[in-house]
Amino acid sequence: MSMAAEERSARAPWALTAPALMLFVGVLVIPLAMTVMLSFHDWGQYKGIEPVFILKNWREIATDPYYAEMFWRTFRIAILTTLLTALLGAPEAYILNRMSGRWKSFFLLVILGPLLISVVARTLGWALLFGGNNGLVNKLLMTLGVIRSPIPFMFTETGMVVALAHVMMPFMVLSVWAALQRLDPQIENAAMSLGAGPVTIIRRIIMPQIMPGVLSGAIIVFSLSASAFATPAIIGGRRLKVAATLAYDEFLNTLNWPLGAAVATLLLVALVLIVVGSNALIERRYAEVFR
């Protein structure tokens, strides 16, 4: 091969990926870099944004316990949502996988259904069922005399976790489902023939093999829940802020863009660290199952 041809073939991959790379840089890398830069700018009620380099916003986040509490709440809600989806979603996927043809496709549709409906509509549905005195379920339970006062749902962390878990469930079920598909169809029979009962089969044979699926589902659910906006905005409103709603308020209500940018950047960095870290851990721990 001549030098020119060699050079050309070395350049070809770059030339071929250039359009996608430019799009990636244009709509993701540049805005992200600008957001990070923005977080170091100054802001005042009357002077607006001043493009200087100061650590004011970061210092405020680090020292004001309000932010610590808010971030802790964000991750607490994300962790509880993840646990809830794992506890319900994994058995759900397992049962679904054991169903026969027609029922399987029907229930798969039921599980995936939420993805087809807007998050806002779904969350408002929860609000209609449990919101205050007029929520359907609360009304019914109070009429029946089961409870005296309505179950608090709106503006509570419990409400947020329940609504988020509902939104996130399909991701967990699909992830576990994918892991179940890789199982040898005879593996349960094999364990049974060796003398294992149903509980042992699930605990010793099925669980370890679908664990990677549960964990990768957990990573998806966790990162989506921690950065979720619509559900916390409707259920939590202004009273119970999480990182995403706080950043939104700083940007659009207080107009303190630099502070909002700092909150958003911190959320992003924390999420990337958590996701990358746990992914590495999972891959090392389950190397044999993934291979």
């Binding site: 040898d184 005879q186 094999a190 364990a191 023939s193 060796l194 294992a196």
Partner: protein
């Protein structure tokens, strides 16, 4: 007395009968093969013995105890699956130890038996390997060790060698037979490979469309096939249309220009079956012309156009000159080498 007995076992899925009227008595230590094409019900029968399926009718007894009343987990049978179904998250040793754990075998004894089982299948030193890091043949051995370590009353093998390449399969066949002879476990093998069935088994159960066609030793099923299906399925065979003439004295069996004294009992149109290796070239017999001649190392394969249709002849490569393509020959065979049955549809 029969060790494992299947008594008129049948299995229906809806209106479809997959296994019908299956009766078999297996002696202790015997190696039995269920042989048949896919969909003949052999795997279904095996699964009924294993307990993964319940028979619709009939009884399965092990040492005179009703096996169908026992939960599959309590039957104590060793099973090797076609896909091996090893536990991928466990090492070879953990896989083999699983059955012993379920039986609450003490840790020391467990370790000892696992080591012995892996050594028996030639996998000493592979204890800590995970199945995905082993070759197909090695996985197969782990599966065998896992099934044998629990000292099963019966070993069930569901097409265990079908995922291996030809050379490895042959090696495993020999090894499987040796292991089975050494430990004497009663074994049932499901296979669609007639060579495998013949080289491994004490007796073969040839099945077709859910029914037993023949039960016999490999030699019996090959030499004296009970039906056209068996003779076609077990190796190559030539079927010639013939007639038995009872008017002649003595009665004559005639196929083309070949004839011999008729066997007792039959008369009229018959089918004469002869294995290709039992046909020779002679001075008298069926008129034929060699169409193709194929050299296969230790033998020659001839395809001939005969009076009674296409004929296949196999001659050992004994160094003597063989007829060439296009040459006219006479096909002949000894009467005791053929099997004669009434011709269907005649």
């Amino acid at each position: 007395m029969a060790y494992l007995e299947l008594d008129r076992v049948a299995k229906q899925f809806g209106a479809q009968t997959v296994v019908d009227d299956f009766s078999l008595a297996v002696g202790r230590g015997e190696f039995i093969s269920f042989l048949g094409p896919s969909g003949c019900g052999k795997t279904t029968t095996l699964q009924m013995i294993a307990g993964f399926l319940d028979p619709t009718r009939g009884a399965i007894r092990l040492e005179d105890k009703d096996l169908t009343a026992i939960h599959p987990a309590k039957r104590g049978l060793g099973i090797v699956f076609q896909s091996y179904a090893l536990f991928p998250h466990m090492t070879a040793a953990e896989n083999v130890a699983f059955g012993l754990e379920m039986r609450n075998v003490p840790r020391n004894e467990r370790a000892e038996r696992v080591r012995a089982a892996l050594a028996m299948v030639g996998l000493a030193g592979y204890e800590d390997r995970h199945p995905r890091r082993m070759s197909g043949g090695q996985q197969q051995r782990v599966a065998l060790a896992r099934a044998l370590v629990i000292k099963p009353s019966v070993l069930l093998l569901d097409e265990p060698l079908s995922n291996l390449d030809a050379k490895l399969r042959e090696e495993m066949q020999i090894e499987l037979r040796q292991i089975q002879r050494t430990i004497g476990t009663t074994t049932i093998l499901v296979t669609h490979d007639q060579n495998e069935a013949m080289s491994l088994s004490d007796r073969i159960v040839v099945m077709s469309q859910g029914k037993i066609e023949q039960i016999g030793t490999p030699q019996e099923t090959y030499e004296k096939p009970a039906s056209a299906f068996v003779s076609q399925f077990l190796g190559k065979t030539n079927d010639f249309a013939g007639t038995i003439d009872r008017t002649a004295t003595p009665a004559q069996l005639v196929a083309g220009s070949w004839s011999a004294p008729a066997p007792a009992g039959l008369s009229g149109p018959v089918t004469v079956s002869i294995r290709p290796e039992r046909i020779g070239f002679g001075n008298a017999g069926l008129n034929a012309k060699i169409v193709t001649r194929i050299f296969q190392g230790n033998h020659w394969l001839f395809q001939c156009e005969s009076e009674c249709g296409l004929a296949i002849v196999i001659r050992q490569n004994d160094g003597k000159p063989q007829p060439a393509e296009g040459e006219a020959v006479r096909l002949t065979w000894r009467p005791q080498d053929m099997s004669v049955r009434p011709r269907a549809g005649a």
